[in-house]
Symmetry: C2
DNA sequence: TAGTGCATGTAACACGTTACATGATTCA
DNA sequence: TGAATCATGTAACGTGTTACATGCACTA
């Protein structure tokens, strides 16, 4: 369904960007929920240009370095809007390698399972703390309350969801670790 | 990192299965966190057999229909165990197309955003209800309390995590919808 | 006997990552 | 002047989906 196509259109709808800029965006905030490497972005930009959804102007940076600043066309805006407002089913599978290990927990012994879950909890806690800090920075930057009209609303939604996701994972890991701690070894 | 390889080894560690059986498992419980189509499974089974991690016996079903019952080798068990107990970093990106739309919310008008979020909430609620029912069925089937020693523990972990995941998504959607409802249109 | 499910496989294509390849700019 | 960052592209490979292809078993 070419989601990268829409990710690019959405980014360009907020303003002109180079391919390099997009790569950076995927590494930053947006990266919690979508990402792509430059090797995938550049060919997609070419394709979208050919299809007429975006266009570019070559800009000289410094004295020689060329970069292509892309912007969205009217056709592109229409295409983006159509995707945005379309209802889609919830995906059946959201892949999670750690949960696959959890499903196979019976192939580990108790101490190994405890170590695995404890490691995961510490890493998830760290990520949650990082996201919490990001959210506090955003709230400070945005000043008063963030609402639908705020230019930061999209970013706010992203961060609150990512934080909720990590916190939920931590709660579950903690509950699982408690069950492991309660284990009664067979006599 | 060939995660499908380990998913297959993990499934076979619990008992012999045909390729068809594995496809069914991915459609059922395990499918919340990992899945693969038969077109990907069959070549992987061949590869794992060549590598010596699994082996098969051809069984006749009925009078003619042949099926290959795979089982894990000692080498395969060692390989599985190594993967299971290895600590890995939390992935930077867990892709979520809906969250990409949420990030681009400013390209929609208020009514469109409300409709999109309301649709997603109703679908997520439905999925949460389905998972809750599955969890209750498991608890009933397992009888007394489920612990590390229970053969259902892996399944229990999977279901509780999947349910927590959907419930968390619902809470966030509800909070977002409240913010959209509170919108003060500019005079 | 027709439809659904069981059972296995390959081919073509789409999506994604790693590696290869090059060069300019900025700042310490 | 060396390192990090800006900037763009292609090639090879790995993963994942859809479509093509076939045939048996069960049951309504």
């Amino acid at each position: 369904m070419r989601v990268l196509k829409y990710a690019i259109l959405g980014l360009l709808d907020k303003g002109s960007l180079s391919g390099y800029d997009m790569t950076s965006r995927f590494k930053a905030e947006l990266g919690q929920f979508w990402s792509a490497k430059h090797s995938q972005i550049y060919p997609e930009l070419k394709k979208l240009t050919d299809e007429g959804f975006i266009e570019f102007k070559t800009v000289i940076q410094g004295s020689k370095l060329e970069k292509k600043m892309y912007s969205i066309t009217l056709e592109g805006k229409r295409e983006l809007h159509e995707w945005l407002t379309a209802f889609k089913p919830v995906p059946d599978t959201v892949k999670d390698e750690f949960m696959l290990k959890a499903y196979f927990i019976s192939a580990m012994d108790l101490e190994e399972a405890k170590a695995l879950f404890a490691d995961q909890l510490s890493k998830r806690k760290e990520k949650a703390a990082f996201l919490k800090k990001k959210l506090e920075e955003l709230k400070e930057e945005a000043g008063q309350s963030i609402s639908f009209r705020s230019p930061h609303f999209g970013h706010y939604l992203l961060l609150t969801r990512a934080l909720e996701r990590e916190n939920g994972y931590c709660s579950w890991l903690l509950a699982a670790l408690e069950m492991l701690a309660d284990d009664q070894p067979p006599a």
